[in-house]
């Protein structure tokens, strides 16, 4: 019996999948190790934020805070409460102008809300705390009760916003006394030398005279970027160059054609380098260069931490600057040079992050070189989830020929089909066709050969004419049409041109 035939036609695609992030996991829990000094932030882990809030609550004499932006309402509230206790609060921020610029290009409602909170915070602080500002003040740290037995200090890669201190992949560092001393010096330079405006009277920022300091800072536990000082960049380069083992680098931003990037590229030829970053289109040109050199790049949706770590070499630094000229060549940034214990803690954190990072970067590639799976495309602020398929059936249809002879022809010919595909990318595109053989209509009546031929030859029986008394195959009639039942393609081949069948006969299955 002739059965329906299913055919699949496959076309191999040669699509170039653009720069993208391969989605490794969609819902993985990060297990932050319990560390003492290097505190991981992210995925709702707000241990570091709690430390900051408690420290501010317990402040007795002074609070010195530096952050690009401050919009965490609880931190703001505690600073105001501290001021009520007559704790002297000194604050450094980036200017509103700079903040507006930075958040302008891709400003979301969320960003606007953060800016508004920051501005309203400034109004509340006048008369209670002393704030200074300049465009480039980007470092984030907190010093409590400096130069007292109860002094405390923290450096953060996160700005002091609630989201950064709980959601983002960030790092906090709990400072020791020697670091606090050096960072105090860094803060006072930020206050007296780096700032150009202060909020001392309500309503407006007053210009302040920049002061100069005679001494050149010499730090042993930190490295900084300040006016005419680029020690942080030097330290980063030093760590990368001196590392003999693997290097892990984390940053929100990686500037294209930048000296430090070249250092990394050079090092990538001899060392394993892993990068942790955020899915950001702006980084792609640099990532392409790095990936070409074998660097593996992992990302989170909200990673913002910045560090350089060479664990086998016991070298590392956690900093507030991105791998960009703005921050390493100019700006006001700080990096805490890590001790051996710090490196061990950071290595644990980094290892967990690498393990659980949802994304890994891939350059633009021929689809045939990629394995199937979900990917993320970045177009400006838009993130588009797509999928790579090994094969994708884009069309499935049926053919119902009215004659087995037509079916036979169809089976031999490859149909044309549409290759549009918007759901993602596929290594092959498939088209499936099912050819359904024609069947005998219901109600058809079997035809006797003698009756047929008598009808054709005439009513009168000619004793001399030899009428076929049998058809070679069963023949039926229905609505004045004749149908021949075929059991196999061989049978069809044998009878298709048979003269002892009605001339206008359609071959069908039974």
């Amino acid at each position: 019996m002739i059965k329906p035939e299913e055919q699949i036609y496959t076309t191999k695609m040669n699509t170039l999948v653009p720069d993208h992030w391969r989605i490794r996991y969609e819902d993985v829990k990060i297990k932050h190790p319990h560390t003492k000094r290097i505190i991981p932030i992210g995925e709702g882990d707000d241990r570091f934020r709690s430390m900051l809030i408690i420290a501010i609550k317990e402040a007795k004499k002074t609070i010195m805070l530096s952050s690009f932006i401050l919009s965490d309402n609880e931190i703001i509230e505690e600073i105001l409460n501290a001021a009520k206790r007559q704790v002297r609060c000194y604050l450094l921020f980036s200017t509103e102008v700079q903040l507006s610029k930075d958040y302008k290009a891709n400003r979301t409602d969320f960003d606007q809300k953060m800016l508004d909170t920051h501005k309203s915070m400034l109004d509340k602080l006048v008369g209670k705390a002393l704030a200074r500002t300049n465009d480039h003040l980007h470092a984030k740290f907190l010093l409590i009760d400096y130069n007292t037995p109860d002094q405390k200090g923290f450096v953060s890669t996160a700005n002091f916003t609630k989201e950064a201190l709980t959601r983002n992949q960030e790092l906090g560092v709990v400072l020791i006394d020697h670091e606090i001393k050096e960072i105090f010096d860094f803060f006072r330079r930020g206050f007296w030398v780096e700032s150009n405006q202060e909020l001392i009277r309500k309503g407006s920022w007053d210009d302040v005279k920049t002061k100069i300091m005679n001494s050149i800072p010499k730090y042993s536990t930190i490295a900084t970027t300040m006016k005419d000082i680029t020690d942080l960049r030097l330290k980063i380069n030093q760590i990368i160059n001196e590392a003999k083992g693997s290097i892990i680098i984390s940053s929100y931003g990686f500037a294209e054609k930048y000296q430090v990037i070249q250092t990394i590229l050079n090092k990538a030829q001899t060392n394993e380098i892993i990068i942790l970053s955020r899915c950001r289109e702006k980084n792609h040109p640099t990532f392409n260069l790095l990936v070409k050199e074998g660097v593996k790049i992992f990302a989170f949706d909200y990673l913002h931490s910045k560090f350089i770590l060479a664990p086998q070499d016991q070298l590392g630094i956690i900093m507030t600057a991105n791998i960009e000229p703005r921050g390493l060549d100019t700006g006001y940034e700080i990096g805490v040079i890590l001790t051996k214990d710090d490196i061990r803690e950071l290595a644990e954190i980094a290892s967990e992050w690498i393990k659980t990072a949802p994304y890994i970067y891939k350059r633009q590639t021929d689809i045939q070189k990629l394995s199937p799976g979900k990917i993320l495309l970045i177009e400006g602020t838009k993130k588009l989830k797509k999928e790579i398929f090994s094969a994708y059936l884009i069309k499935e249809f049926e053919e119902k020929p009215n004659d087995l002879r037509n079916m036979y022809e169809l089976l031999r010919n490859i149909p044309k089909y549409i290759t549009e595909f918007t759901r993602g990318y596929s290594k092959t595109i498939e088209c499936k066709r099912v050819i359904i053989p024609p069947t005998l209509p219901q109600g058809a009546v079997k035809v006797k050969a003698e009756d047929y031929w008598r009808k054709i030859k005439g009513k009168k029986t000619d004793k001399d004419a030899k009428l076929p008394n049998k058809f070679p195959i069963p023949v039926y009639t229905w609505k004045r049409e004749f149908f021949g039942i075929i059991k196999s393609w061989k049978e069809l081949e044998n009878v298709k041109d048979h003269k002892e069948l009605p001339s206008k006969i359609r071959f069908v299955t039974g």
Partner: protein, 364 residues
């Protein structure tokens, strides 16, 4: 220092029958005429013909007779000779013409006013009855008080309304007190050794002589003592606590005061006394230190480091010599900052350099 003693003085108005000698300024020829009569007498000549010859050669004698008659009516000449009044006129060169009739006089009964009659206004004789009848409706008949009658035979200088002198010769005891009174706002102003009298009234202004009863030193001493029992009467200054002084008072070492209802012997009571720019000084060493601190904070306009603080403190004392009279202790920056509102600009000017070790920084 400026002291203003203010009082409101009631001016009463009376209608009286009065005989006055009133200065005549519009007849400059009278003195020469009287002199001519004196000369005539000296030369033993008849005054009429002498005057005609000397003064009016073209005019008839009748004219001269008319002049003589006029002079007689003025009380200056009698029987061709000068009267006593005429002799006084030639000697004083003041022509005082007697006038008798009804006058309205404005009077003040106050020890400050030597002149009782501050203004006078003749009532037109032709309308005397009419006006008197009008005045009667608004007046009441009284016996003129003695303080007014005492002005008889006293010359009253320069009443502005008429800009002339009068001498009261007679006031009838019976007169009328008009109901409508006036009030003069009277200010006696002492302005660095000089007393000035100002009188103001909504109807007219009048100039009155400075009272001779004023003893400046006594007035100032009385006032200063009222302000403070510890007033320095040698230097006319008041010791004060700087706590409630304004910035201007602190810097200038001067303060204004106002006293109400102050009486002086022989001057009467003043409703209000305003003392301006009275010198003030610290009560004691502690007060002087406080004063210096306040001045310091007033001048503080930027961040200062420790050595700048010390210099500024010393300079402050030198700038105000009064402070040099006291033993002033320099506070520390911390002590001084405690006197300032937490979080204010000046607070930060003091505390921030200390908190953030500004000592070594040189300003660009």
């Amino acid at each position: 220092m400026q002291i203003t003693l203010k009082c409101t003085v009631k001016v009463q108005s009376f209608s009286v029958q009065m005989t006055i000698y009133e200065e005549e300024k519009s007849r400059p020829e009278i003195i020469p005429l009287l002199k001519a009569i004196v000369e005539a007498e000296k030369e033993g000549k008849i005054p009429l013909t002498y005057m005609q010859d000397k003064l009016f050669p073209e005019l008839p004698l009748t004219f001269i007779k008319n002049i003589m008659e006029e002079l007689r009516l003025m009380g200056l000449v009698e029987n061709g000779e000068l009267t006593e009044r005429g002799e006084i006129t030639v000697e004083s060169k003041e022509v005082m013409i007697p006038r008798t009739g009804p006058y309205r006089i404005d009077v003040v009964d106050d020890p400050l006013f030597e002149r009782v009659i501050v203004n006078y206004d003749p009532l037109t004789p032709n309308l005397e009855e009419e006006l008197l009848s009008k005045e009667k409706n608004n007046s009441r008949s009284i016996i003129i008080p003695d303080f007014i009658l005492d002005t008889i035979d006293h010359k009253i200088e320069t009443i502005e309304q008429f800009a002339r002198k009068i001498e009261i010769k007679d006031i009838q005891e019976n007169g009328y007190l008009n109901n409508k009174n006036y009030y003069l706002e009277f200010s006696l102003v002492y302005n660095n050794d000089f007393w000035d009298l100002k009188v103001r009234n909504k109807n007219y202004s009048t100039s009155i002589e400075r009272p001779s009863l004023i003893n400046e030193s006594q007035i100032i001493e009385t006032l200063l003592k009222k302000i403070s029992s510890k007033a320095d009467l040698n230097q006319f200054r008041i010791p004060v606590n700087p706590e409630n002084l304004t910035a201007t008072e602190l810097v200038l070492f001067k303060k204004n005061y106002q006293l109400n209802n102050v009486s002086f012997d022989q001057l009467g009571e003043f409703n209000s006394v305003i003392l301006k720019e009275i010198e003030i000084f610290p009560e004691d060493d502690s007060s002087a230190t406080k004063w210096t601190e306040k001045l310091f904070l007033e001048h503080l306009s930027t961040y200062i480091v420790h050595h700048e603080f010390e210099k500024m403190w010393t300079d402050m004392i030198h700038e105000f010599p009064i402070l040099g009279e006291f033993d002033i202790h320099s506070p520390s920056i911390g002590q001084l900052s405690q006197q300032i509102t937490f979080g204010s600009a000046k607070y930060w000017f003091l505390k921030a350099p200390s908190d953030m070790e500004l000592e070594e920084v040189v300003e660009k």
